[in-house]
């Protein structure tokens, strides 16, 4: 059980800066998920926390104590690797006991601790097997068991589910969150899968190119993303974006000339290029008073029974053929065919606006 702070943490690999001044507070007992596209530095950040990579500058404190120069083993953290990193020549029991044996704990104490962890993870019948004789899910549980026995202050997970098939991933997701509840431990979890982030996290940290884009609870990120990147990254299917320009007052003008009123706090100057964002699940086929109409040419239909996904390109008076792509998730089943035109409606309360240049910050 512990808290962790990162203060202006930077990592350079030679001339390349991969982590750009990260500040982060992880509170005791929190489940924090680092999420971002591949190459965003999330794994590097995790490895810096656990001590497998040096911190170029900045400060890492665990429970308020500076830990920059503490050896990986002495930081009191444990890590579950993407490839599980089980020692292939050791049995499950030996794998789990290895860390304890190295600290010079008495054999019978090791036995009790390993047995307890094995019981917790339902590994007791597998203790004498070698890792190669286990399935993916079992290996994953051994890897988790290996970190549990050491009773670490903080659990670190580096994309632990990416090697599992979809079904197993869902059930392991439940197991890890269940474990978090039972142990009440602080956990930091790295993934590139925003669904994992949304379902597991108390707090999501969205990273891009070595900097934190936004930190918040899953719903905070979903409902009020800081910028276009976070808006696009969180949520599935991805948020729809269409270029618009600011008009007089609170008005915005769409590409095809329709004027629409959206209240903003900052009131961008008339003529500023903006990006309109609206989530697929907020689009409807029924016209409602005050909704923004988006005419689209259907390029694909996916009927999922309970709901349907309509893929299309934004059409309209002067829209080009390869206009912005629009995805609409509508309830129930549809009769729309490919090639037809349809109009989807976006309620104003679901519409977001972003700057079209620079950091693409949210203006609404």
């Amino acid at each position: 059980m512990a808290s962790l702070q990162l203060k202006k943490v930077i990592k350079d690999f030679g001339p390349t800066r991969v982590i750009r001044s990260v500040d982060l507070d992880v509170h005791d007992g929190e489940f924090v998920v680092f999420v971002g596209p591949s190459g965003c530095g999330k794994s590097t950040l995790l490895r810096m926390i656990c001590g497998l990579e040096d911190i170029s500058s900045g400060e890492l404190t665990i429970d308020g104590v500076r830990a920059n120069d503490t050896r990986a083993a002495d930081r009191g953290l444990s890590m579950v690797f993407q490839s599980y990193a089980l020692y292939p020549h050791m049995s499950v029991y030996q794998n789990m006991a290895f860390g304890l044996e190295n600290t010079g704990i008495a054999k019978d104490v090791v036995r009790t601790k390993v047995d307890a962890a094995a019981k917790l993870l339902r590994l007791d019948p597998l203790l004498e097997r070698k890792p190669t004789q286990l399935s993916g899910g079992q290996r994953q549980r051994v890897a988790i068991g290996r970190s549990i026995v050491r009773e670490p202050k903080i659990f670190l997970f580096d994309e632990p589910l990416s090697n599992l098939d979809a079904e197993l991933r869902v059930s392991m997701r439940g197991e890890i969150t269940g474990l978090h509840r039972r142990l009440g431990a602080t956990m930091i979890y790295v993934t590139h899968d925003q669904v994992e982030a949304m379902t597991m996290a108390d707090k999501i940290v969205v990273l891009r190119a070595g900097s934190i884009e936004q930190v918040g609870s899953p719903l905070e990120l979903y409902n009020s993303p800081n910028n276009k990147f976070v808006a696009g990254f969180i949520g599935s299917p991805q948020m729809n974006f269409a270029p618009v320009t600011a008009g007089h007052g609170d008005n915005i003008v769409t590409e095809y000339g329709e004027t629409f009123e959206l209240k903003t706090a900052t009131k961008p100057a008339s003529g500023t290029a903006l990006t309109l964002g609206v989530r697929p699940e907020h689009l409807t086929l029924e016209k409602r008073e005050g909704s923004l109409a988006l005419p689209i040419t259907i390029t694909g239909v996916e009927q999922l029974g309970g709901h349907s996904l309509l893929y299309g390109t934004l059409s309209g008076a002067n829209a080009s053929a390869d206009g912005p792509r629009i995805t609409a998730q509508v309830a129930g089943q549809v009769t729309t065919k490919i090639g037809e035109t349809a109009t989807v409606y976006a309620p104003p309360e679901a519409c977001r606006l972003f700057e079209a240049s620079g950091e693409e910050r949210a203006v609404r």
């Binding site: 497998l52 083993a73 890590m79 990193a85 020692y87 290895f98 190295n102 600290t103 290996r146």
Partner: protein
């Protein structure tokens, strides 16, 4: 049954294709070329000294039949004698003086028969001259030589594995400046012919006072570029995450090396162990230079010493050669699984 199936495999699974004839002919020729001399050696090692000098030579070890004659201490050789009356009899020869041989019929020991040596020929039978082997201990200090060879081979192999694997571990798993330079330097020594470093090596060993010491043979041999290269390439395939996991598991660098990397590099270690055993056991030139005292000789040196200036006791020499071949054969038989494993895992991955 499995072996038989394997040995009679054909290309299409039914009749013999011409390619089958060709490959079997090639294989049989290979077998003959490789195994023929060894088989000849083993057979010859069971021949008596006189049988070895026979011409034409026989494949199987034949010896002259000998029987016990009452009143004589030694066994007497048996001859087939053409009697003056035209019959032939098998008689034991007591002695021979000039052209006259004195023979005796074991059934009637009182009658001495004298015949011309031309009228008798030796009776031969299949006989293994096991005394070639059993006498070795008495003839020469075989035990000492064997011990010297075994000591050098075992100790040098253990040290080779230890030192080479430590070097390979550092070169494959640690990042430090000059790493590739060091590695290239080690590999570069492969290009230096051994004959060139012979004299410098000798001077070093001599200065260290290791002449006529088994350690003088062991120390220069343990650091091998081949071994470092072989192990390094294999260790590169061990995922770094395992080492990182061990580091998180509070393992010291020595424990990582000893408990994680070494067991996982076992196939490559086995290959190197086989090489090392073969190198050290068959080594001749370097021990010849370092060891000059008879009681420090290895088996290979003893074999050489056996070929005297005037006389060579071929029967003992051959028996000893067979014995020196045995350890290599045994090592290979037990570790060949690891050889293929090592090659497969190093080649495929």
């Amino acid at each position: 049954m499995k072996t038989l199936n394997f040995l009679t495999r054909t290309r299409n699974g039914r009749s013999l294709d011409w390619t089958d004839w060709l490959s079997y002919a090639y294989l049989v020729m290979g077998l003959f070329l490789m195994f023929g001399p060894v088989l000849w050696l083993v057979m010859s090692s069971f021949k008596t000294e006189s049988a070895l000098n026979e011409f034409p030579p026989s494949f199987l070890p034949y010896g002259q039949k000998s029987i016990a004659v009452p009143g004589e201490e030694k066994m007497k050789p048996v001859y087939r004698v053409k009697m003056p009356d035209g019959t032939t009899k098998e008689l034991a020869e007591l002695r021979r003086i000039g052209l006259t041989a004195t023979l005796i019929d074991p059934a009637r020991p009182d009658d001495l028969i004298r015949v011309n040596v031309k009228d008798r020929e030796p009776v031969r039978e299949f006989k293994l001259a096991t005394e070639n082997y059993t006498d070795l201990g008495g003839q020469i200090k075989f035990g000492t030589y064997l011990w010297n060879s075994v000591f050098i081979t075992v100790i040098a192999t253990i040290l080779t594995l230890l030192f080479n694997s430590m070097a390979a571990f550092a070169l494959s798993k640690y990042k430090f400046s000059g790493r590739s330079a060091v590695f290239l330097l080690i590999l570069g020594t492969l290009m230096v012919p051994p004959a060139i470093v012979l004299v410098p090596n000798f001077l070093v060993i001599s200065e260290l006072g290791l002449l006529n010491s088994l350690w003088g043979v062991i120390w220069p041999a343990i650091a091998t570029p081949t071994g470092v290269f072989l192990l390094r390439q294999y260790m590169l395939t061990i995922p770094d995450e395992l080492l990182e996991a061990a580091r998180m598991d509070n393992a010291s660098e020595w424990q990582i090396y000893w408990r994680i990397v070494l067991p996982l590099a076992a196939p490559a270690l086995a290959v190197l162990a086989i090489f090392s055993v073969m190198w050290r056991w068959n080594d001749f030139l370097w021990p010849l230079i370092v060891l000059s005292k008879n009681e420090k000789f290895t088996l290979q040196l003893a074999l050489n010493a056996f070929q005297g200036d005037l006389v060579t006791q071929w029967n003992y020499l051959l028996a000893m050669t067979v014995i020196t071949l045995l350890p290599i054969t045994i090592v290979f038989a037990f570790l060949q699984k690891y050889i293929t494993q090592g090659i497969a895992s190093a080649g495929v991955k």
